[in-house]
């Protein structure tokens, strides 16, 4: 039992450099800002104020806290402040405050979109990761906060500029890993529970590929070609279930991570190309990339003059 608890503790709190968490911070907030700032038409938050009251079907904390749908002007201001907080968080400027604001306003704005009778599953993990990063020390490296502290010039500034390896930079990434595994595991279990093996073995996946050409605008017609065969849709269904239900295995080791995570990413990209359905969860996948090892890899291959000058500075 001691060995198990030690391994459990090490999984969450093995000391690591802050580089990976910092890069994940930049990418996550950047991706969220991109999607909700420029891609999703439903992220025109001010427009939700005009939605007829009859559609109002608040989620649980909107009911408990009696949170209203604010006016268009107020929603516009909140949305602007939220997007600014996302940008500040990505840059690592006033990181603690900006990540907290991102979380609080995200809980309201993202939650508001779910209060009109239809939910958007792309949004669910976003709020959880906003919470994880708000409670983490993601601004300790590759941030403007650190740059300003280092320039402070005092002893306190110099001490604050040093960042030691710590479990504080490990647990947020591992928790996003676990969240990713649970998201896909839940999707796989749902399919098996509601439909069983016929989800794989019947014409189901073929009908999925065909029906999206009636209801969506897939970016390609490749799904139609796949649907002409008897075996390809079934193989897709089998791989989908194996990858989703097996997703938690990616937590057990590097080899399994290399199998499941790229597989899930390819699956989601394939779904988007063949059916036009939802965007892949890019903001989760970035947490699986070992950025610190990538940084070391490229640093070792940079010309000696660059690293020497950087070390001397």
């Amino acid at each position: 039992m001691n060995r198990l608890t030690t391994r459990f503790a090490l999984f969450w709190f093995q000391p690591s450099a802050p580089t990976s968490l910092a890069v994940n911070r930049i990418l996550f907030y950047g991706i969220v800002l991109y999607y909700y700032g420029f891609v999703f038409s439903r992220a025109d938050f001010a427009a939700w104020a005009a939605f007829p009251d009859a559609f109002w079907d608040p989620i649980w904390y909107f009911r408990w806290l009696h949170l209203p749908a604010l006016s268009a002007g107020a929603l516009g201001v909140l949305a602007l402040v939220w997007k600014m907080s996302l940008a500040f968080s990505a840059l690592g400027l006033f990181t603690r405050a900006s990540s907290a604001v991102s979380l609080v306003l995200g809980a309201y704005l993202l939650g508001l979109m779910q209060c009109f009778g239809k939910t958007h599953h792309f949004d669910y993990p976003v709020l959880i990761v906003l919470g994880i990063l708000a409670l983490s020390r993601c601004g300790d490296a590759l941030s403007l906060d650190r740059a300003f502290r280092a320039r402070a010039g005092s002893a306190a500034g110099a001490a604050a500029a040093e960042v030691s390896p710590s479990g504080e930079y490990t647990w947020p990434i591992r928790l996003v890993w676990v969240l990713t595994a649970l998201v896909f595991f839940g999707a796989g279990v749902s399919k098996l529970r509601r439909s069983g093996l016929p989800w794989i073995l019947s014409e189901n996946m073929r009908y999925v590929l065909l029906s999206h050409h009636y209801s969506h605008e897939p970016p390609t017609t490749w799904g139609l070609y796949v649907a002409q065969t008897a075996w390809a849709p079934r193989l897709m269904g089998l791989l989908t279930i194996l990858l989703e239900v097996g997703a938690p295995l990616a937590l057990l080791g590097r080899t399994l991570r290399w199998i499941f995570i790229p597989g899930l990413l390819m699956m989601q990209i394939g779904i988007h190309l063949l059916t036009g359905a939802f965007e892949p969860f890019w903001y989760l996948y970035v947490f699986w990339v070992p950025w610190d090892r990538l940084a070391s890899f490229f640093k070792a291959r940079m010309p000696a003059g660059v690293t020497a000058r950087a070390a001397a500075a």
Binding site: R42, L135, A147, P165, S166, V178, S190, Y207
Partner: protein
């Protein structure tokens, strides 16, 4: 006198210069291709005179003019150019040795300990996420932001049906399924409302009345190019799935679910 540690000929700014010129080159090549190569390809594919796989990408000739495809391409091209510019600028900044010096973390040999209360709090957060997610999966339910992600769990059939909204104009019916008419929400909200509230006439009437008003106000503001409509009609469309979706524009069944406002309730002259 130069820095003795600096190898002869090495330039600390060389990498960032390469990135800058590379980004500029890629951007220029992209914009050139986007402006002079792709539009003729789109026009050719629209006329079905290009390579078959390109012709197949243009599937909405009957409903969208070629200008719509060109406008969509321009939007994609500009966004891609913006992305290339942002990534290039970020890479340029990241490659500067001055930035490395400012942001380089020092890593002493011993790790800083995490306090017990802090560790307990982290375990609490972990437990909340894990237990909450597993509970949703076990109970087959959702509790925002936790979910069992049930999308595509139900079996699809050979008959596909969908509730669609049409607008009644003086010239006849117009399909109002396109997202532009109902942004930021979608026609799905309307279809769901009709399906869920058929037994609650008051709520349904309020919802559809609000939706119709919203459609008209957005039309008057120029937010979409839809026509003025007198009423909304909700149809249940059904298709028998065809291998090459030949019948996508010809549903096998089209059943009127309801019309709002009903004929008897329209103002005189409508």
């Amino acid at each position: 006198m130069g820095d003795p540690r600096r190898p002869a000929g090495a330039s600390s700014g060389r990498i960032s210069l390469v990135i800058a010129f590379g980004t500029a080159f890629v951007l220029l090549a992209w914009m050139g291709g986007a402006a002079f190569v792709v539009p003729p390809l789109i026009r050719s594919a629209y006329r079905a005179e290009s390579w078959p796989f390109l012709n197949d990408l243009i599937s909405g000739r009957a409903t969208h003019p070629v200008e719509a495809y060109l406008a969509a391409w321009r939007s994609v091209a500009m966004r891609t150019a913006a992305l290339v510019l942002v990534c290039g600028a970020a890479a340029f900044v990241a490659a500067r040795p001055e930035v490395h010096a400012l942001l380089r973390p020092t890593l002493p040999e011993r790790a800083l300990p995490i306090g017990n209360w802090r560790r307990l709090g982290v375990y609490g957060l972990i437990a909340a996420v894990v237990v909450g997610s597993l509970a949703c999966i076990a109970l087959d339910t959702e509790a925002w932001p936790l979910s069992q992600y049930p999308m595509y769990s139900d079996m699809r059939q050979e008959e596909f049906h969908q509730t669609r909204v049409f607008g009644v104009t003086e010239f006849g019916e117009v399909d109002l399924s396109a997202a532009q008419y109902w942004r930021p929400y979608g026609r799905v909200h309307l279809g769901l409302a009709v399906e869920r509230w058929q037994a609650d006439a008051d709520r349904l009437e309020a919802a559809l009345s609000g939706a119709l008003s919203l459609y008209e106000s957005r039309r008057l503001l120029g937010r979409h190019d839809g026509p003025a409509v007198r009423s909304l009609r909700f149809y249940r469309l059904e298709w028998r799935l065809q291998p090459w979706v030949e019948n996508v524009d010809r549903p096998d069944q089209k059943e009127l679910i309801l019309e709002f406002p009903r004929e008897s309730r329209r103002a005189p002259g409508e």
